[in-house]
């Protein structure tokens, strides 16, 4: 569901970061539940493994997500935000190389297309 912020109040001396929405007006909260997908469980598991092995703290994940622009933060699903932040932090911590990630994504896309699946190759920015 698309979020619609009806104001962008700035109180106090510091700018409000994108996740700090307390007191802002929004449209109704989508309270519908769904079973976690396999993808969502894998993202969760990946985060636990990385945090458990001290690659970064969950505080860093939050910081990475909070750095997104408002349109991006509001526009992508919860676990996609995690996935993107994990990608950014793995590069930041020099665990993986950005180019290597792109090459690997491309390889996986090729394989899935060969299997007859429709693939969205839009880059993750």
């Amino acid at each position: 569901m698309k979020l619609e912020r009806s104001n962008s109040e700035r109180r106090g001396g510091g700018g409000r970061v994108v996740n700090d929405v307390g007191g802002l007006d929004f449209n109704a909260i989508d309270q519908s539940e769904h079973e976690l997908t396999f993808y969502e469980k894998r993202v969760d598991a990946m985060l636990m493994v990385l945090v458990g092995n001290s690659v970064f703290r969950v505080d860093a994940l939050r910081r990475a997500i909070e750095s997104y622009a408002e349109q991006e933060y509001d526009g992508i699903p919860y676990y996609d935000r995690w996935m993107k932040a994990i990608r950014d932090l793995l590069i930041e911590q020099e665990v993986l190389d950005a180019d290597a990630i792109e090459v690997r994504i491309s390889e996986v896309c090729d394989r899935l297309e060969k299997e007859g699946l429709e693939v969205d190759r839009a880059p993750v920015v």
Binding site: R11, G12, G23
Partner: protein, 105 residues
């Protein structure tokens, strides 16, 4: 070192105000509580500093985290509920100052 831990500045029942200051980077103190006053309920624990952990720093020194009760009428300038409505939030000690009473901002 145990003796390097600074003394606890606040106790249950103390009136405190959340500092109304800018933050840079990762911060757990929500904007809507900055400058607002409440009463200390107790200490939630002592935790490594998330503002530093977020940048891969050790997060030292650890800070006391207090649970604070705010009256909704003291938070929202246009609140229309009753005076009895409240809200509890956990705020780190270094974000708090003494307040003489539970006054509005």
């Amino acid at each position: 070192m145990l003796n390097s831990i600074p003394p606890q500045r606040f106790k249950a029942g103390d009136h405190v105000r959340v500092l109304d200051r800018p933050s840079i980077g990762h911060c757990r103190t929500p904007v809507y509580l900055r400058g607002r006053s409440g009463i200390i309920i107790g200490v939630a624990g002592r935790y490594l500093d998330p503002e530093k952990l977020a940048y891969h720093k050790p997060g030292m020194p650890a800070h006391l985290l207090y649970r604070i009760r705010f009256r909704q009428v003291n938070i929202w300038d246009t609140y229309t509920g009753t005076d009895a409505d409240d809200l509890e939030a956990d705020i780190f000690e270094y974000w708090l100052e003494n307040a003489t009473k539970e006054n509005k901002k």
